[in-house]
Symmetry: C2
Subunit: 232 residues, 2 copies
């Protein structure tokens, strides 16, 4: 149902085969543009298909031919957001990015569009449940991250010497559903999770304005967390 607009307007248009399909893709992109404006001014939970129809000069029923309901629209926005971050991660990884590069890609992606960041990582929209395929995209990102975490692990002998397993390592070794088939050692699982939580910790507080007036530069704090995670 959403297959024609996976990565935003440009791809959606070139994927569309007939003029009719192309027109449909264009209208859907326009609806999404209005939706992002609504989210910025009124919040995701106040998203209203009728309000968007009004702004576009369409009747409610006409708009519902493009998105069946609010949740379908939110799903499309969430999917675009996740997909753009996953694509960023994958492209960087293919270009040889290490864990620090991924960290800076995450920060760039977040600061580039705080609304997009907050739709995915901020307060959940009440009554909305993301469909399973967004979980799949999130899993793809964690897979890229985990590979990068494995790459900074010290080699075998050194690792055994330097790091006794922590209680968290022991827990993660037994609870590794999210690592799928990756045979990463527990210390790499731990590093990937710490990467995810520490960097989102800085970003979410920064984007919600909690560092305003504190006087320091959150970019420095972020960089220090990255250094700690990559052993620099």
């Amino acid at each position: 149902m959403f297959g024609t607009s996976r990565a935003g307007g440009a791809v959606a248009e070139s994927d569309a085969k007939t003029p009719r399909e192309r027109y449909r893709a264009q209208v859907r992109e326009e609806v999404k543009k209005h939706a992002w404006e609504q989210i910025a001014t009124a919040g995701a939970s106040a998203l209203s298909l009728n309000a968007i129809a009004k702004r576009m000069g369409l009747s409610g029923p006409a708009l519902y031919r493009y998105f069946a309901n609010r949740d379908e629209l939110i799903t499309e926005l969430v999917r675009d957001a996740y997909r753009s971050l996953a694509d960023t991660f994958r492209a960087r990884a293919r270009a040889g990015a290490d864990l620090a590069d991924l960290a800076h890609a995450l920060r760039g992606w977040a600061l580039d569009d705080p609304q997009r960041y907050l739709l995915v990582y901020g307060t959940p929209v009440p009554g909305y449940q993301a469909p399973p395929d967004t979980t799949q995209i999130a899993a793809e990102m964690m897979a890229v991250l985990l590979d990068a975490a494995v790459a900074v692990e010290p080699p075998g002998a050194e690792a055994a010497e330097s790091a006794a397993a922590t209680p968290l390592d022991e827990h993660l070794a037994d609870h590794r559903a999210w690592a799928a088939e990756n045979p990463a050692p527990a210390s790499a699982l731990r590093r990937a999770l710490a990467f995810w939580t520490r960097l989102h910790g800085v970003l979410s507080l920064e984007l919600a304005g909690h560092f305003a007036g504190m006087g320091f530069d959150p970019a420095r704090l972020y960089a220090a967390e990255v250094d700690g995670l990559t052993g620099r």
Copy 2:
């Protein structure tokens, strides 16, 4: 204007002097109760005084005698939320809490009422600006946190030996507005900030459901971050 209901219903009632004031405080508490229900079901940005009036069997104008507008109501909820966390921190600190105890208090407070946590630390409500006194309450919390961070610093000679100043330390030494008059060393400033961002990182992802299906226990991840922050 808000002085009579600083810490919720009980205090508000006992602070109120006349039956009329007591009644006013009771109605305001009831409005807030309905507001939290609205936030849970529709989101903070969809908060509507008229909808609350309807549920309470009041006219809109009658309700506006208790809260002048939506932002005044949100401010009261934000203030209650911040105040409850600040009171928790202060009470624990007075009872001799160390940094790890404060971490567990933060987690308890967050899990106890995720909506409350997300109103303060989740996606900002579009168009809403918290008043300066909430910043002041946040500063009080950071002060408690900073004292606890200073207390786990290694003593002077050991510290000088073990830790060369990091680039972040140098930055924080010059940008310490948030530490007010506290002469804490930069390493303690860094520890307090890492405490704040790392623990909020775990909590915000956990409460927004991002660990669902990953298979591990977020409490273990949180505990490991606390151990790292307290040098255990």
